[in-house]
């Protein structure tokens, strides 16, 4: 191959890489800013968030905390190669630290990701504001009625049910803003069935209930008597006795029996949304949630996230919408088929049928199965068939949220619930001093290698030095680009990784030059020695580097956190080293071999092996020092 061509290819690589550095993957700002690599937590500090955990109100046990920590760590690492630190503090706090400004990313980290599939059994309106204060609804309505207003448009009006959200939106005085009304009324029977056998509660919950009872006073007794949701369409003032419930906090609402949460009209979706995380995770109890601006009652969870073997984001080709596809484990598949059969075959008298038709579509009605993630109902589609294979979760997804949900499902549910504290900035653990020292060490290392190379290989040292420089430039460019595009962050460990690879890169020269020496020793002219030495050295370099790359790839795929970062640095620098070896060093040597000076001991040091040592005293004494 012509040396010029290889150098040309190398030039092209440089041009492309630096074009990417300056113009691709969201490059912005001044030229200098575009050249900044993404630095890690230990070097520039970052953002720290604290999550306080609890398990059904009590401090969680140790194993669950550790599991939670691991899951959070996996979720953080799914964000990119960014080496977050996740530490358990005391016995109920998890502290997550991420490099740079990362408030956004920290927000959803500690969500439990408990997925539940529950039959939707009853629907009632979210009408608190009107219920509390019907005569003068106008001023107060926009405030607390907002959730209903924003939610309701998505409930298909096509259902024909007079559930328009006039209560919230219009602010009309008497406007009864019942939700799913008439059709929902018969559902009153359903909840009473489940309410008939209230789940046994812990002493803790009992105490909370007593506190709430005291707070709401007389309303408690009234609420206890309810067997179904209060229908405000017939009597807009029916909600008045329960007015006190509107002032409860999310935690207080959560302490109530699910039936009461559902039946008391003054408990709004807003309050339900404020319940602590994990409040509706219990698989064995009926729960209340909000969906499309209406309160819904959901049956026991027949299928849970653990039944899912694999989740993946997918773009549905027919609708153009993002969905999350699910593969169930074999046991889970059975349960899922059972649940969908139940939903599909439900008769017109079953509560779920009535509830579904309230939300309903104009066509044939089947029961809905709600897909619940943590506190949120992601979607509640009517089941159109008994599903025995892969299934999909549809919802209001975009590419990012679909991937997020899939990741959450794959990485599992966090066994404890968290109260998130504020995100705070933190300074670097290692700091400027160590960064400077690291760079200084790199400079010293490079200097020592250069001195040694010049001393031992004379002018060939220049070739080593130049190609180390080229490697460094390539590595730097790749760092900047990868930092922006895949979130690769450079930590002190990474810097040391690169320093180590400096030695390994220089080593491929040693292999080559020693080969060259051998060939010349055997009596070849440089012109013929260079290609021969290259042929042989190439094989050695390739098989040796293959091992390093293999090591890097395996560690990158398997490991997490800082090990992954190290593996990345190692692999990257090895590949770039090979690039420089093939595209720079070999062609340069080919060019050099045709010069006369090449053989002069003063220039390359290679000629020495040709002379008898008696005439080369100074040289051999220097070699001794080497």
């Amino acid at each position: 191959m012509h040396p010029g061509r290889q150098l040309g290819v190398l030039g092209l690589v440089f041009v492309v890489l630096y074009l990417l550095v300056f113009f691709a993957a969201g490059a912005s700002g001044s030229w200098k800013q575009r050249l900044e690599p993404k630095l890690g937590l230990d070097l520039i500090g970052g953002t720290q968030a604290t999550y306080i955990a609890s398990q059904q109100g009590a401090p969680p046990n140790k194993e669950d905390m550790e599991t939670a920590r691991e899951i959070i760590e996996q979720r953080v690492n799914a964000l990119g190669v960014s080496e977050a630190e996740v530490v358990i503090q005391s016995d109920n706090t998890i502290v997550v630290s991420l490099a740079g400004k990362a408030e956004e990313q920290l927000k959803s980290l500690a969500q439990a990701a408990n997925m539940r599939f529950r039959l939707l059994t009853a629907v009632t309106g979210d009408v608190s504001s009107v219920a509390v204060d019907p005569p003068s609804a106008a001023p107060s309505a926009p405030a607390s009625g907002a959730p209903a207003a924003s939610g309701s448009p998505s409930v298909k009006p096509s259902s024909g049910a007079p559930k328009a959200s006039t209560g919230g939106q219009g602010g009309g005085a008497e406007a009864p803003s019942p939700s799913v009304t008439p059709s929902a009324e018969p559902s009153a029977a359903a909840p009473s069935a489940s309410a008939a056998a209230p789940a046994p509660v812990t002493a803790d919950i009992k105490a909370q209930r007593e506190a709430v009872a005291k707070k709401v006073g007389a309303a408690w007794a009234a609420a206890e008597k309810l067997t179904g949701p209060v229908d405000l369409t017939t009597d807009p003032t029916a909600g008045l006795p329960f007015k006190a419930f509107a002032s409860l906090t999310g935690a207080e609402v959560n302490a109530l029996d699910p039936a009461m949460q559902f039946n008391v009209p003054t408990i709004s979706c807003k309050q339900l949304d404020q319940r602590p995380n994990g409040s509706i995770d219990d698989v064995n109890s009926t729960v209340v949630a909000c969906y499309n601006g209406a309160k819904v009652q959901l049956d026991k969870a027949e299928v849970v996230g653990d039944d899912i073997s694999q989740a993946a984001p997918q773009l549905d080709s027919t609708t153009g919408q993002w969905v999350v596809s699910l593969d169930f484990k074999s046991e889970g598949q059975k349960k899922w088929a059972e649940l969908t059969r139940k939903a599909f075959n439900a008769g017109a008298t079953e509560p779920c049928y009535i509830a579904a038709s309230a939300f309903g579509s104009s066509g044939e009605t089947h029961c809905s199965v709600a897909v619940v993630l943590d506190k949120e109902v992601i979607s509640a589609p009517q089941i159109q068939a008994v599903l025995t294979g892969q299934s999909q979760i549809t919802g209001d997804f975009d590419a990012v949220s679909a991937k997020k949900l899939a990741d959450q499902l794959n990485f599992g549910a966090i066994p404890v619930t968290f109260q998130a504290g504020p995100a705070q900035t933190i300074t670097a653990t290692v700091g400027d001093q160590q960064l400077e020292a690291g760079l200084l060490a790199a400079a010293i290392g490079l200097g020592l290698v250069a001195i040694y190379a010049f001393f031992y290989y004379r002018m060939l040292g220049l070739v080593i030095f130049l190609s180390l420089g080229l490697s460094a430039l390539l590595t730097f460019g790749a760092l900047v680009f990868l930092g922006r595009s895949i979130g690769f962050t450079l930590t002190l460990a990474g810097i040391v990784g690169f320093i180590v690879s400096l030695g390994v890169a220089a080593d491929s020269f040693v292999i080559y030059f020693e080969r060259l020496k051998d060939e010349i020793h055997e009596g070849r002219s440089p012109r013929s020695a260079v290609p021969r030495a290259w042929q042989r050295a190439k094989r050695t370099i390739l098989s040796a580097n293959a091992i390093t790359i293999m090591c890097a790839v395996v560690l990158y795929i398997v490991s997490i956190g800082q090990v992954q970062g190290l593996a990345f640095a190692l692999g990257l620098s090895t590949v770039l080293d090979l690039l420089v070896v093939f595209l720079f060093r070999h062609p340069i040597m080919t060019v050099l071999a045709s010069t006369k000076a090449f053989l002069s001991p003063r220039v390359s040091g290679l000629g020495r092996v040709l002379r008898s040592s008696q005439t080369e005293e100074p040289v051999s004494s220097r070699v001794k020092e080497a």
Partner: protein, 390 residues
């Protein structure tokens, strides 16, 4: 007066003539003793685990107390002094500022302390910084690295070993793979042994460094084995040297490269270690520099004096090589009667200046470092042993 037989010069030419493989019993004994010491140390002295593995204590001090502002360095110094007063060898990590403005506080993590030690430390910090003791809070922190990372790293290690074995078996042969792995295991055991014996702290960076050594140690071995393979290709066709001798020749030929490589790789790491330990005291750089320096140093040495001897031992068990070796030795014994000291007949045409150096007594055994070919000009590899060229 430097002459052609000075060690440096012979090294430079790849003719150091050091009998390495021939003394394999000695190397095996040394390696065995070292391994025993290392393993014994694992059990007796165990490892000194850092905060990141063992968990620790965290002290936080507000940045502003009663209108007074405290600096990060002051907090770090105060905590370090206080912790070292109760536990002289405890690891203390750098201080970190959390939050900004009036809310800001500094957190310093140290090795795990007992409750009484913690309250002593708090008191000392409070006195030192002039803040109320109640302003300083302390917590136990779990291991930041925990089992997950280690388990995954070990899993990675296992997968890597399987893959690399497969690779070596395919591109070399199983005996070379076995020898390479044996030397890798030796490296890891000895490095870990040094850590256990000296009581260096094992931090995440130590583990990272450890994983780096993996690739490096094998890399070095592969380079030596590549030469061995070249030297021994078609060795059974001739009858000039035994497999062990050919291996030794390869080791000698690559000795200069190994030393150069070792030096070139250790120089930068030495820089890291020097800066890390010398200028900054404790910290990431020192942790990394130390493990890399020890591991890579051991790696270079073991690729020379352990991997090749193991390989020659394994090869000597192979029937083909066994009979070949016997043939070579028989022939040599037969000839030693009529050949005077001064070299083999077959190689008389290839002699160089260095060949004139009185080599091994008896002269019939080719010197370990002897080059098969060394014509000064022209012809090149005319008299190479069969099959060596590609």
């Amino acid at each position: 007066m430097a002459n052609s037989s000075s060690l440096a010069n012979r090294l430079y030419r790849g003719e150091a003539n050091i009998n390495i493989v021939g003394r394999r019993k000695m190397w095996f004994t040394i390696a065995g003793v070292l391994v025993l010491i290392a393993i014994g140390s694992f059990f007796i002295r165990t490892f000194h685990l850092g905060i990141e593995f063992a968990g620790g204590s965290e002290f936080s001090v507000p940045a502003q107390v009663a209108g007074k502002t405290i600096t990060q360095d002051a907090v770090y110094d105060a905590v370090r002094t206080a912790v070292h007063a109760v536990e002289p060898n405890a690891q203390v990590n750098a201080a970190q500022q959390v939050g900004a403005g009036a809310e800001a506080n500094f957190k310093v993590r140290s090795a795990a302390l007992t409750a009484t030690e913690m309250s002593d430390v708090k008191q000392a910090i409070a006195t030192d910084l002039g803040v109320a003791e109640s302003d300083i809070s302390d917590q136990q922190v779990s291991s930041a690295w925990g089992g997950a990372v280690i388990n995954k790293a070990l899993l990675g290690l296992a997968i890597f070993l399987v893959l690399v074995t497969a690779y070596l078996v395919v591109s070399f042969e199983w005996r070379m793979a076995a020898a390479a792995l044996a030397s890798l295991v030796l490296d890891l055991l000895i490095t870990a042994g040094v850590y256990s014996l000296v009581g260096f702290e094992v931090t995440p960076y130590t583990v990272i460094g450890f994983l780096t050594i993996l690739g490096y140690a094998l890399y070095d071995v592969v380079v030596v084995f590549d030469k061995v393979r070249e030297n021994t290709r078609g060795i059974t066709a001739g009858s000039t040297r035994t497999y062990a001798e050919a291996t030794n020749l390869a080791v000698n030929q690559t000795l200069m490269r190994s030393l150069n490589t070792g030096l070139v790789a250790l120089l930068p790491v030495g820089g890291v270690l020097f800066i890390g330990a010398g200028l900054l005291g404790a910290g990431t750089l020192k942790d990394l520099g130390l493990v890399l320096f020890v591991g890579m140093g051991v790696g270079v040495i073991s690729s020379i004096v352990f991997a090749a001897p193991v390989l020659s031992y394994l090869k000597d068990q192979e029937p083909k090589i066994k009979s070949h070796n016997a043939r070579v030795l028989a022939r040599r014994a037969q000839r030693s009667d009529d050949v005077a000291a001064g070299g083999e007949r077959t190689r008389s045409g290839n002699r160089t200046a260095s060949d004139e150096v009185p080599a091994f007594a008896g002269g019939t055994t080719p010197r370990p470092g002897a080059r098969p070919v060394a014509k000064r000009q022209g012809g090149g590899a005319g008299n190479r042993p069969g099959g060596k060229r590609r």
